[in-house]
């Protein structure tokens, strides 16, 4: 339905870029994480394509409607390239201009997802998957990880190992008594590098 003049404006903005794009490090327009109702768990917009919260929410709703039923990983929406990934009850999105190299955006998405899954496995013994509950219990980890991956729209790091290392969430907050010996051993077997605090 024809509802939002925002749509037109966004298109026009992107159109301006269509000829002779200025080479730039500013690659990512937004990073979003939505839950399986399409509600925002995390959203970071790096430019003013969607300046107000209202426009952002409308965009997120549109994105969610177009993507939550299919498991394909890329789409063109409102003149922007959206790469996405879903896992259990979470939807991860990285958004860039339609002229952006899709694989770069994909690298950001993969880095975000892999970093989170390593961090969550490390932090939670009973919730090893990247799922909503585990994420909510580690919000600060998510905030710090995104901050290490993208800075103001520039890709800062694309290697999940590096990101996990820099976020440096140490396990010493978890009282050791809550872990059984086997769990500790599996964790260290699976992720020796993490447990060694690399």
């Amino acid at each position: 339905m024809w509802k939002c003049p925002v749509f037109l404006v966004t298109l026009a903005k992107n159109e301006a870029l269509s000829l002779n794009i200025e080479p730039s490090l500013y690659t990512v327009k937004a990073v979003l994480i939505l839950d399986n109702d399409g509600e925002r768990l995390y959203a970071k917009y790096y430019d003013d394509t969607y300046p107000t919260v209202k426009e952002q929410k409308a965009f997120e709703k549109n994105i969610f409607n177009k993507t939550h039923r299919t498991d394909s990983e890329i789409a063109l929406l409102e003149g922007l390239t959206v790469v996405y990934k879903s896992n259990i009850d979470l939807f991860f999105y990285v958004i860039g201009s339609s002229h952006e190299n899709e694989l770069m955006l994909m690298a950001v998405l993969n880095c975000l997802f892999d970093s989170l899954s390593q961090m969550l496995r490390y932090a939670n013994i009973c919730l090893k998957n990247v799922e909503k509950r585990a994420l909510l219990e580690n919000m600060e980890g998510l905030f710090l990880a995104v901050d290490e991956i993208v800075d103001g729209g520039v890709i800062l790091e694309s290697d999940p190992q590096q990101v996990v290392h820099r976020v440096a969430l140490r396990g010493d907050d978890v009282p050791l008594t809550e872990q059984t010996v086997t769990q500790v051993r599996t964790t260290s077997l699976l992720y020796p590098s993490l447990c060694c605090g690399v």
Binding site: L103, L136, Q162
Partner: protein
Amino acid sequence: MIKKFDKKDEESGSGSNPFQHLEKSAVLQEARIFNETPINPRRCLHILTKIIYLLNQGEHFGTTEATEAFFAMTRLFQSNDQTLRRMCYLTIKEMANISEDVIIVTSSLTKDMTGKEDVYRGPAIRALCRITDTTMLQAIERYMKQAIVDKVPSVSSSALVSSLHMVKMSYDVVKRWVNEAQEAASSDNIMVQYHALGLLYHLRKNDRLAVTKMLNKFTKSGLKSPFAYCMLIRIASKLLDETEGGHDSPLFDFIEGCLRNKNEMVVYEAASAIVHMPNCTARELAPAVSVLQLFCSSPKAALRYAAVRTLNKVAMKHPSAVTACNLDLENLITDSNRSIATLAITTLLKTGSESSVDRLMKQISSFVSEISDEFKVVVVQAISALCQKYPRKHSVMMNFLSNMLRDDGGFEYKRAIVDCIISIIEENPESKETGLAHLCEFIEDCEHTVLATKILHLLGKEGPRTPQPSKYIRFIFNRVVLESEAVRAAAVSALAKFGAQNDDLLPSVLVLMQRCMMDSDDEVRDRATFYMNVLQQKQKALNAAYIFNGLSVSIPGLEKSLHQYTLEPTEKPFDMKSVPLVTTPITEQKTEIAPVATSKLPEKLAPSRQDIYQEQLASIPEFQSLGPLFKSSDPVQLTEAETEYVVRCIKHTFARHMVFQFDCTNTLNDQLLQKVVVQMEPSEAYEVEHYIPALSLPYSQPGSCYTLIRLPDDDPTAVSCTFSCTMKYLVRDCDPNTGEPDDDGYDDEYVLEDLEVTVADHIQKVLKPNFGAAWEEVGDEFEKEETFALASVRTLDEAVNNIISFLGMQPCERSDKVPENKNSHVLFLAGVFRGGHDVLVRARLALADGVTMQVTVRSSEETVVDVILASVG
């Protein structure tokens, strides 16, 4: 782990969100524990997380409350908990714009950025640069320089990226760090390399020489980072584009070499750069296309998408280059990612043969409802292109389009469909009735005013000439009853056209008009009243002038003339003939559907080329008394392209004069030309009145000189003339390096090619949407007819094109298109002769051995008829 102490949350089901019902005021209340000693890191961390979460949800924080929370937070720097410290940095960044006095944390951050803990240093730099302004930046400049060349990658990257962010604000300061950035560019770390390259480019992008040097250095030394490679490719292709460098340049070789990089990201970037280069030959495209072809079978959806999207772009310009990929594209038709499938199909539609059209259309209609509007527009574009290629397929297309029209969709999408249907109707007379029927159905439930008015206009134009005009009346009148003002007004205009064309419908139309005169809107009432009165006269000429064929003047021109008229009130009525005519007739614009990511925002009406000339000429005092500019020709080259001086001429026609504008360019860098005039020797009774020289013509800076010619008054039939032209000037030799000219010069001249003035220069094209009515309007008072044999012409197409370009008149009723396999054709031409006399030409053509042509000319002025016939003969 943070919430481990909160057992309740853990047990309340996996869907629960502990942040769901956060109250901003409650969280800010909790933030008071920041002031407690000793600091409880875990609780403080949790509260900071809540604050950032709220900010992230778009919660609005007032300045006072934000500042209060911010100041409380600064106390947390006393704790040495790593995660807590990191969250403080984040809070500083998030609050930098909402809280006041954020600069108080500067010293804490400076301490952290220069401290021993590597984990703190990078994030501290980024937080610090977020709150720093130009003056403060100088205070930390020393630290920034050190950080850029720091051996810890995260520190160096943070410093480089923060510098990049600050280029916008403090270019002059950051510029001084170029040497450090240069050093960082040779780092081993791939991200540092990338960030350093990005910063260096941003600092140097206005200096083309520096960019070239930088490119040379990095393309030779080779980089490790794929991101940096992508950046280099972009810089190289931009430089190629700007310098219009040939494809034999080393930069092009570099990009082509990247096609063999081992990283897919780099390969794709290179392929995409080559594809987007203007004027790429098929041979140059081939390697790029073949890597894209490989990507088509990648297991990664993003890569397949990227490949097929780029191939789709290639197919627009070079369909043959993509044919090799047809098999791979076929496999993508059933791709589970609908965007990929759509792009594959539309690409195939561009490259495939006529026989595959049905199958592809069927395939695409099975999932058209699942794809986004952007791709639906892509599909419509492909169909539109297809209709032009395979006109016989129009019934399949029309069906498909009408189904798409019924679906939901945004304005851009609907507009694309409507434009496409309209262009099909115009191309194929057989499809007219079905097309109009679909459009009628569409406006019954159309929320877009622009589209409804457009369709109503089309109905008014085409409807009355269909076998059963009465069936459209109902659709149109429904609009009058149901719609907004703009649509109602358009509907009234459409109705009037039915009444004017069809005598048997006239009584009913008059009744309907009567009802429209009761409308609540002024414009609708005015139109109804006006049309009512015109229709009641039952005069063909009136109908033609006021209902069928509207004004053909240029709108900006009319605005200007009317404004002028109101400034100098006179007794004389306003003369429409003094308004310049519109130069590009409305339907001349091919119904091009806008590409995907464009939108026609309501633009200011751009002045046409002729309006610009009018302004330029009016600023020259000698030309001010000539009256309005009647017509400007396209530029004619009077020299070869590669000669010492390049001269082209534009012919400007006025009521009694012609002005020749010579655009001259001096391509010799050791000469300065002065007082340049083009001397003209007419072959007929044309009289040169005045030369206006170009005073100075330095190397490669174009200049214009003018020649004013008076047209012969006594013999109005002398419309064609040949001029021999010589350029005369004073040469001053100069130093090619400094451009410093010698003191004295010498006269010289340069012979140009002859310039011809033909009948076409005296006629302005005018589109008559309804030629028949215009024909009646002019009447047969000065009608003349003659028959010619065009011996040298072999086909009707050729004959039609020759006549159009010779007379320079506007073909009407799409009569410039000769149907296939016909032996006869009628061509309708309309124009206005210099002085404002309408002139219409009807040429009946018959194909036998050669082409026989019977020309009938009508005009409001007898001499004009003679001129046309004389010049054809």
